[in-house]
Structure formats: structure tokens, C-alpha cells
């Protein structure tokens, strides 16, 4: 018969260790998490954060986005740009925002139509087919369709969207968002720059002018 071990007089350290050994791991993790959350709350980590207000830009005021400095100048409605082959479907019209674009990077930047560059986005407009990216970008001076802007060579362009006729009229107020983004750099399995955190960096308010068939029309 195995003799019963004698009761030992244990110190408080030994008792604490025994209790600690008996403590379920789940309780331990939950307790530590609760303690950290409580500490975070005490330090203000759970307080509401006031979002930084999005700046209101004036027409003609430049905004320096990641790669492009965008200076939106005016918004207008027009029937078509037939020489450039930019003709909307029946029942639609063209919304044009004229802006000066300066590429501040060290490489050419594509600004065409895919919406993948720093760009502009009209708000509250009924876009044809739901596409919010500009359907065309036209160089203001020579009427050519532009796809690339060169570093430090400012170019005045017309961003063109096809919209449902009647969704915007002469004299209406139009808000245009200036879109910016961040460059995450290259990744291990990806070549070239990666962009993320697309966000609205500013608002510009315009009074829309209806040019009818065009400035000469």
C-alpha cells in the first residue's frame, strides 16, 4: 500500500504556481485579451476618430495627387466630338470636365480611360451603362485622344463621360471628386508599381454649361 504523502507546508509562491498550472489556457488568453482591450480603452483606443474633412477645391485650384497634379477648370455638356469618334448613343450626352494635368513622376503615366490613374469623378450623375471611368480623354489644343502624359509637361485635357440625357442640365451644380491613391511599391511576385488606398482627396463644385453641339456649333 502506497503511503499517503504528508501534507506539505507550501509557500504562497508554490500555491500561485499550482493555481497557474490549473488555469485553463482559454481563460488565460481571454483574460489577457480583455486586459489589453481594457488598457486600450483607457488610453482612448476605442474612442471615435474624427475623419479628416475632405477639402473643397476651387475651380482652377491644383491638387497634387500621387503621380499627377490635377487642376479641374470647368464642366460642360456637349452633344458629341465627331472628329474624335466620340459620339454618344442615342439618348445620351457627353459630360466634359476640362483640367490641366501635370505628370510629377519620373515616367510617362497612362491617363486614358481605365480609371487607373489619379483622376476625376463626377458625383450624382447618371452614367451611361454605369461606367464611372472617363470614356475618353482628349487633348484640348489639338483634339487628339491622349493616353499618356509625359513628366513635367502640363497638358490641358477634356475628361469625357457619356451620361444619360436629362440627368444634368445647363446651370446645374455639379460636384466632381478628385481621386488619389497610394503606391505600395513592388512585391515579390509582381512586377511594377502596385497602387492601393484609392480615395477622394478633394471636391470641386462647378456650374454646368450646356454647349449644345459644341463651342463652334
Amino acid at each position: 500500500m502506497t503511503p499517503t504523502p504528508p501534507l506539505e507546508l507550501r509557500s504562497w509562491r508554490q500555491r500561485a504556481r499550482t493555481l497557474y498550472d490549473r488555469l485553463p489556457t482559454k481563460w488565460l488568453i481571454t483574460g489577457v485579451s480583455a486586459a489589453l482591450l481594457g488598457l486600450s480603452a483607457v488610453l482612448g483606443g476605442l474612442n471615435d476618430v474624427t475623419a479628416a474633412p475632405i477639402p473643397e477645391l476651387r475651380a482652377g485650384e491644383p491638387y497634387a495627387a500621387l503621380q499627377l497634379t490635377l487642376t479641374p477648370q470647368a464642366a460642360s455638356l456637349i452633344d458629341a466630338f465627331p472628329e474624335q469618334g466620340v459620339v454618344p448613343d442615342e439618348g445620351n450626352r457627353l459630360l466634359v470636365v476640362v483640367a490641366t494635368v501635370t505628370n510629377t513622376s519620373t515616367d510617362p503615366v497612362t491617363i486614358a480611360t481605365s480609371g487607373d490613374a489619379d483622376s476625376l469623378l463626377p458625383v450624382g450623375v447618371d452614367f451611361a451603362d454605369g461606367f464611372t471611368a472617363p470614356s475618353s480623354v482628349i487633348v484640348f489644343d489639338d483634339g487628339t485622344l491622349v493616353s499618356t502624359v509625359q513628366p513635367d509637361v502640363p497638358v490641358k485635357v477634356a475628361y469625357v463621360w457619356e451620361i444619360v440625357a436629362g440627368s444634368l442640365a445647363d446651370g446645374d451644380e455639379l460636384r466632381v471628386d478628385v481621386l488619389d491613391r497610394e503606391n505600395e511599391g513592388e512585391a515579390a511576385v509582381y512586377f511594377g508599381d502596385r497602387f492601393s488606398d484609392f480615395h477622394v482627396a478633394g471636391h470641386v463644385a462647378f456650374t454646368v454649361e450646356d454647349l449644345g453641339a459644341g463651342v463652334n456649333g
Binding site: P108, D141, D142, T144, T148, P151, D152, V153
Partner: protein
Amino acid sequence: MTRTTPLWRHVVNGAGLVVILVIAGVVAHTAPSEEQQQAAIPVRGQIGETITGRNIRATVDGVRVAESVEASNGWAGPTSGVWVVVDASVEARVAEAPLGYARLKVGDVTYSASTRPGQATIAATSLSVGIPWTGPLMFELPSALVASDAARHAELQFAVDDDTRADSMLVIPVDLNSIDIDEVIETERPVWGAR
């Protein structure tokens, strides 16, 4: 009874370890980085010389600079900068490919050949094997840059893909400082098949 290791063996082991560490350090510091391993392979030449890469062959006949250009299709693109017009002849060598990369590098900044002139430029044209496209490439640059020191060592760079990694890139140095700026340049119509 234990045998003690003689002192000379400790010294030799230590010296061997140091040698291995030095060799490893040299290898680590001289091995090409991933960027260097994948970099374009430059093939250098001069203006007037025919330069041949893996799938591209080009000859730059001349470089001009002007405030405006009158292209063969009637396009007259105004610019807030200047136009650098490169008259060149480019063809593929082993397989059809686009002229996907036609750049002018000034310092650390690169400029792509403009596609605004449309059919009046050979930018972005499809290259056939052995049948060159001969015509102008127009580069839009800031006016001040042409007169800068960096412009003395500008480089024309041609490749068949805009992803230039691990393929030939033709590189032709250009001294933009030495070229007078014309008021206007008229360019010739691109020709397919002429040399």
C-alpha cells in the same frame, strides 16, 4: 583519459571559419540583385549605326528639336514644352512584335514616344521581320530640360515589349544640348519596307 585538442587545431578551425565568412560576405555583396538579374540587356550604338538586338534592329538617322511639329498627316500638336523628333528605322528580327518601348531618357526621367501624331509616327507600330518601318518618333519634353546638363547625356532606348526585362534594349546616346531648337519641323510620312 581525455585527449585535449591541440591549440594549433583551434587556430586552424578559427582561421577556416573566418575565411568562409569572408568568402560568404564577398559572394553576398557581389551577387547580382533580382533587379540586376532581370534588367534589360543593353546593346549600345551610335546615331547612324545599325544596332541589332535579339528581336529588334534599329538605325537612328538623326535627332532634331523644335517648338512645334507639322506631321505628314496634317497633325500639328502644340506643346507647352518642345518636341524631340527622332528619325529612325526599326524592324523585328525573329518574330513580329510591336515597338512596345521607345523612350528618351534624360537623367532619371524617361519620356515615351507620343502617339498623338497617330499614323504620322512609328511609335507603337507593329514590326515585321526584316521589313523596317522608317519614320519619325516624337518625344514631348519640358523646354528647360533640353538645355540642362542632363540632356548632354540623354539616351534613346528601344525594345519590342514595354516590359523590357531580360531582353535586348537598344541604347543610343544623344547630346540634346548640341542640337539647335527649330521653330517648326516637318516630318516625313512613315514608310514600311524602305531602308
